[in-house]
Symmetry: C2
Subunit: 455 residues, 2 copies
């Protein structure tokens, strides 16, 4: 009787964990100039393992920053679908003194969890796919062609990946892309996040007098720029919490009744949001549930502002200028550049002749969404059900993962977020951990996912 | 023929200047802990000179900070009026490297101006009164009793003077109080500022979530406190520039038609305000001229605000709180505590249930005004006319001189601002100077003022 890839994974479970520990011991902190050699070493380790498991082509490919590890196996033949796996081998900084119970780069298992920086984000999740691939290749049973794109700059915002993907469109051609760098609802409740929000981040500056003035000498005849900026900001929302920028909602793909019913099943209770925020009362568009306001609706947020004097005590200044950081979270099918232009134009209209203003675009990211009815999502759903013994719920995320939209747009493929982490993993904090059970269920689920795609 | 006090002042002009130079050489910087002995030395020098000129009682009186120099001469008899002269012997800091052409504490005359720290603010102006008193006492011709209150903490906000004045109400009893610590319109155009604005300085804090949140994870369901504060600030003014706080104008003494006509005569042209501010267009209550908005109307000014992230680049934070500094300039007969309470209550009403807010009083000062029809002001007008050969114009100032209101309220006397400085004297900057001509005209005008009061 032939060994199944699932049997193989079970048989080799201990070794898989030992190998993950090897990778976790490399402090590949992408933001730290002292760790360039370690980042390089992690890329090398990943490439070596991809070669070891039988990938036909493995390259460490340079970018303007840290390299991309690329690998492919085309053994399933021209008629079989090709799956592109995205992950990252770099990690956030971590120092023992920041509150870690044990050395962040010496993985240990406590209470069934692997404690180490990168265990969940994203070495553990990405490595689950590598070991799923190994299990399929070793048992000669992969029904799909495989490509891996494991980058080294995710934790610093992937500054070079967009260009690299654009340059390597042909190389990366695939039928489905899968990213395992997210969380599921609970250890016993898998979930599929099929949409993430985009971002248009801008700053607005308002100028009044040519220099700071004495509020006694000039107060009353000059439009205070802090006040003028406050007036502009106040005018950017309607009383019902919707954004008061003409055209802002024009491209928003509405939530259907079916989708809203599905999302309701995965919705956290109000008490969860209350505990997380501690606000005296919720706010926002009353026509939408709390989870819909975050996942399914665009926003306009004041990330901060500054003007004049704000220290202890008093200073009677009439400030010369005021600045605010404003960002819009966007949903499918909004375009960040267009949203920037709409907000910029509205602020220009709201700016009275008594002051001057300017709005500058600081950062942008497209929203991403994969229709839950896509076969790739259905395959993920079936895979989770087999791996976990429980049907996944469907979610929309409020955050932004620029690579999801970039891959979707550049490669024109459905992107599936096949998360194996948990929100409680402490991804960027001390004592980051990854459940041993999740690691092995992840490998199993990835195998099921590839099998489903091959059907 | 008897020598007149004016003859005396003319005869002794050179010595008066030499004495002023002695006082200017003492670096009595009240804010500098290294200069405590110098501040003490200046007090001693002033007290010695007051004794020298024949004041009957001279005391250096302690406060919690730098001492007050008090002197009195009661030789005019019980039926003669008593004049209290206020001035200060402390100065702002000054360092040669800050842009001074010559040592700030080694006075020199260039182009008819005495260059030295304190020459105009306030040693030169206060000393003009001392030398006017000397001229009257030496010629046996003072028609008024004289009291001097020369303090040493004006440049640090007179933190101990209010209490000291309250404690020494009987000692300070007078019929008129005169302060020479302000400016006139131009070297050839004297002016009398008969009103200054008060101040209610407060800070408002708005809290939303219990900690900074991820704008992706929570944006849309939480009322952003920076936005909420902007909405509150925007609601504090009406579209016409008036303050939208119920009761705010209740106690405002309206400008009469006569007063407005008089103020119009001293009003700077619009081009002056344009040059000073550089704003694209003026703002404020359209029913009032620019100089009336500053001098005759109360304001509500945003002195600054801060919230969340405002550095370079982007940070997608939904801030936990926002803070603004807000100050109201007040006109007679407004009460700073009552204005604070009105603004506080209105902000409480404007605060939606989605956030919490608090308003705290930081500093307060009463507005001050002496009716231009008061005999003391008429005496000052006549004195200026004799000293300058030109009738003074009448002004209202937009700034705040807490001592004016404090003396007026505590002693219940009319306070006259008999300024001998010019706005261009550079009072707190490098190369502070005082016109030699203004010094001697000041002495002459002070003598005329005392003579007028004695009539």
């Amino acid at each position: 009787m032939m060994t199944t890839p699932h049997d193989y994974a079970r048989t080799h479970a201990d070794r898989f964990r030992q190998q993950l520990f090897e990778l976790l011991r490399i402090p590949s902190i992408s933001t730290d100039p002292q760790r360039v050699a370690d980042v390089q070493r992690a890329a090398q380790w990943v490439a070596d393992d991809l070669r070891r498991i039988g990938m036909q082509r493995v390259d460490i490919m340079p970018t303007a920053g840290h390299p991309v590890v690329y690998a492919e196996w085309q053994g399933a033949g021209e008629n079989a679908p090709t799956v592109l796996v995205y992950g990252h081998y770099d990690v956030q900084p971590a120092e023992l003194e920041a509150g870690w119970t044990s050395d962040p780069f010496e993985p240990v298992i406590r209470d069934g969890r692997i404690y180490a920086r990168g265990s969940s984000d994203d070495k553990g999740q990405a490595f689950a796919h590598v070991k799923a691939a190994e299990s399929l290749l070793a048992t000669g049973s992969s029904p799909v062609n495989l490509k891996f794109l494991i980058e080294g700059e995710e934790e610093i915002g992937s500054p070079n990946l967009g260009a690299w993907v654009r340059e390597h469109r042909d190389l990366l051609r695939a039928d489905v892309c899968v990213i395992s760098d997210t969380s599921i609802l609970a250890i016993d409740q898998p979930s599929i996040c099929y949409a993430l929000r985009g971002l248009a981040y801008m700053e607005v500056e308002v100028w009044g007098p040519k220099q700071d003035l004495h509020s006694g000498g000039f107060g009353g005849m000059v439009h205070n720029p802090a006040q003028a900026l406050a007036e502009i900001i106040a005018a950017l929302h309607n009383p019902d919490g919707s954004v008061a920028v003409p055209g802002f909602y024009d491209d928003v793909l509405p939530l259907s009744d079916d989708e809203r019913a599905e999302l309701q099943r995965s919705a956290a209770p109000e008490s969860y949001w209350r505990d997380m925020t501690g606000v005296p009362q919720f706010w926002g568009e009353p026509a939408y549930a709390l989870h819909e306001r975050v996942g399914g609706r665009p926003t306009l947020e004041i990330n901060g502002f500054v003007s004049g004097f704000y220290g202890a005590g008093s200073k009677t200044v009439l400030p010369a200028k005021a600045l605010a950081k404003i960002s819009c979270r966007l949903v499918a099918n909004q375009n960040p550049r267009r949203i920037f232009e709409l907000v910029r134009d509205q602020i220009a209209r709201l700016t009275p002749p008594t002051v001057r203003s300017e709005v500058r675009l600081i950062a942008e990211a497209f929203p991403a969404m994969t229709d839950p009815r896509e076969p790739a999502i259905q395959a993920a759903s079936a895979a989770y059900e087999k791996g976990w013994g429980r049907r996944p719920l469907f979610e929309r995320g409020g955050g932004t993962l620029p690579i999801m939209a970039d891959l979707q747009r550049e490669l024109n493929v459905p992107v599936v977020l096949l998360g194996f982490g948990l929100r409680s993993d402490g991804a960027h904090g001390p004592d980051e951990h990854f459940s041993v059970e999740m690691f092995h269920k992840g490998i199993d689920t990835a195998i099921y996912f590839f099998e489903e795609l091959g059907k």
